[in-house]
Symmetry: C2
Subunit: 457 residues, 2 copies
């Protein structure tokens, strides 16, 4: 990117929305993954026309453009691995409309998840995918990565809530996909082709989201297990019983120990814990489901079953789950968080397998995740300055991915593929599938300027 290009970028977005100062570029080398690469410049577009002009320019001069929201991604999707221009969309952050009777919220991509949540709450509605980074992550990033969260088993992921998009294609043309209706069967589904495409097919400039009424009756409980198999059998039997808890979280013994030792939490010395939440309009509905859950847990030898009797007690139980990330992060400077996902009935096979693999390489780890949709988050700690540990981590992660695919699983339940998982995509998808994805990428982005190096495209 020479001076003339930089000058043109300044003309497009204005001096105040451009930088190539080293000190300002450094934070844009990172997202929340373990990867980094510095861009040559950063722009903060404030209007879709600017996005269009920038991409037009990028095609004319063949420089890479990496779109980015809050940079909370865990797979390196927003790391500008080939340099070039970083396009930060966080200034396009207006909630354009909330049409409650139409069950729609229309937003710009830079709106923070929590800001939409706060705006919807007075209406009794919410946008259900609830990533753990919800206080800072942007909706554009949620759509680009098809983000999920703790309530995915019952409420699905971002994909299920995107009705339509306005997108600037890689060559600069603006298109609208989908519709303003709750349902549509009109034409090829371009909308969901963009959802989860991680900024490789276009830059999202407007999102029409489906919103849902927020349940107000909630029951929360936790249970402990001395036998991991009993925890897994509980998950299977809960689903088979026809109850889909709004959350069904599983914690391994390392997680429990870390929370007890580092987090000073009052937790038993057990092999596994389950946290469950049920919901509905009425207390009776939430209780009916929770009673079934408790019945299953007891039948499978759960101990220390705690049922929250108040909002405060429920919050205390959730604090256990929500503290894991920050407490685990303190254990060692570097760590990676995966989101491997398998069919629900295979969750214990995956957990046991991951434990054995990481154990073999002698790295500290915790495993927790969303058992209700088969999604585990192994978090592996290591020292990046120690080549042996770096290599051990690489091998462990590769083995985890292989195991996941052997169990019929997917490399990513909710974080996306990005940079981190790109080399492993052939483990999950056959070459015909990958070739078709690449052909679509080429069709949309013939000069390969938009977020290159991601998703094995």
């Amino acid at each position: 990117m020479n001076l003339s290009i930089k000058q043109k970028l300044k003309e497009i977005v204005g001096e105040e929305n451009f930088t190539d100062d080293l000190i300002e570029l450094v934070p844009y080398a990172y997202d929340a993954s373990d990867h980094d690469h510095r861009p040559e410049a950063v722009v903060w577009p404030t209007h879709k026309e600017q996005v269009s002009q920038i991409l037009f320019l990028a095609n004319a001069h063949r420089f890479p453009v990496t779109p980015r929201g809050a940079g909370t991604g865990l797979s390196g999707g927003a790391v500008p691995v080939q340099g070039g221009l970083m396009m930060d969309l966080s200034k396009m952050n207006r909630i354009l409309d909330m049409r409650i009777a139409d069950r729609q919220a229309i937003v710009e991509p830079g709106v923070v998840y929590a800001d939409l949540e706060n705006a919807l709450t007075p209406h009794g509605f919410f946008f259900p995918p609830d990533p753990s980074s919800s206080s800072v992550c942007t909706l554009g990033g949620n759509v680009a990565t098809n983000a999920g969260g703790i309530r995915g088993a019952k409420y699905g992921t971002t994909r299920d809530y995107v009705l339509g998009l306005e997108v600037v294609l890689p060559e600069g043309q603006l298109i609208r996909t989908g519709s303003n209706c709750i349902k549509s069967a009109s034409g090829l589904d371009l909308t969901r082709l963009f959802v989860g495409s991680e900024g490789t097919l276009g830059v999202i400039t407007e999102i029409t989201l489906k919103i849902s009424p927020k349940p107000f009756a909630i029951k929360t409980a936790s249970a402990s297990f001395s036998n991991l198999g009993d925890a897994g059998q509980s998950v299977i039997e809960i689903i088979r019983s026809g109850i889909i808890p709004s959350a069904l979280e599983l914690l391994d013994e390392n997680t429990i120990r870390v929370l007890r030792d580092q987090g000073k939490m009052d937790l038993p010395q057990v092999t596994a814990m389950i946290l469950a939440e049920t919901d509905g309009y009425t207390d009776g509905e939430a209780s009916f489901q929770m009673d079934k859950v408790i019945e299953v847990l007891k039948r499978n030898h759960a101990t220390d079953i705690r049922i929250a009797r108040s909002t405060q007690e429920a919050e205390d139980l959730w604090k256990i789950r929500k503290s894991i990330g920050s407490i685990a992060a303190q254990l060692r400077t570097h760590n990676v968080s995966e989101d491997v996902t398998v069919p629900i009935s295979k969750i214990i096979d995956l957990m046991t397998g991951i434990s054995n693999i990481v154990h073999h390489y002698g790295l500290p780890f915790v495993i927790f995740g969303h058992a209700g949709d088969g999604n585990l988050h192994p978090r592996i700690m290591y020292d990046r300055s120690n080549p042996e540990q770096v290599e051990g981590l690489r091998k462990a992660v590769e083995e985890i991915f292989k195991l996941t695919c052997q169990l019929g699983g997917t490399l990513s339940g909710e974080h996306g593929i990005g940079l981190a998982k790109a080399p492993y995509l052939p483990l999950e998808h056959d070459s015909m599938n990958l070739n078709l994805m690449r052909a679509i990428k080429k069709l949309f982005d013939p000069n390969h300027i938009l977020n290159p190096g991601k998703m094995n495209l």
Copy 2:
């Protein structure tokens, strides 16, 4: 298709699974729409390898292939408008697996919706999209058209339940898309590109469906309105109140009159009726929601509110809604059924507009539909041998589509575009959008052999 091609087809599928007898070709000229065109031959493949070989042959000799399930489509999607080969997938009708704890059913495309429903019922699970042709339609057709049904507002449409597919691409290659997990954020979403693609991008040979627990507590009610605006305001206020009824059906005054006069039903002389259903695990949950619905209905001057006190009474209320299709069909030999859909708050604008348009052309009609997701089904009767009525119908339908798009709507909520709506697609999607759809079609099907003439591709 010359004799040598026909001979090769016989070799692929066996003599018993091929025909070019006129008497057997005739029914394959039709689906449930108002369009027809006879194929030159029909094959009934029984295995994906046969599908692959047929498409390979079709590319070598450039003959069109039209895939088809039960032929219940209402948009002409399965009418072989350019002749060639009809590929009837109804013999690939095995339920391959039901993994209840994984929330999955794996089926071949020819499985009838009701057969899967019957197989899932003992487990307490169901596949929620519930097209009114459920007793005969096939799941392959449901996926190809992204079929919906009465419970779409609460449970969504087919798209929300397809986890993965096995597809034979137009040139004969077999690919697997998606995963066996409840959620995945791995690679471009090819699965949903095939969902709703109406057999233009590939032939589906296996479907992995997400299944859900079937609610067992249900409340049903009906209400009448002398003022259409009150009915519309009720719909708006029900959604705003945070209740998403599992069904919220709206009937116009013509529908009510036809049911009363032709169907001999005990119905009041009113302008509109609403049928509502709420559900949950518990009676209390279903009642809580129904109480809110009734409250809204009363506030908006509903009369003759009937609440079903038994399963029999509920069935009697549903009989009203479910009889419409067959009773209206008796009114005149020919009729078309549309599925225009608008944002929920615009449902009365659409209903009034349609009434005015069809009235203007002097054709008998009824309008009913799924108010909970903004989807109306105007059914217009006409005499196909009367050129004036044929032309009136054409103009009326075009004006209905224009009005729908002016109201921010979509040409199709659940039937698909097919042949019938193909010319009108530019009313809804801009040229950039259509060009991108066509480019994708060309990428998948360079020789344009698969279901040509559909969806304006």
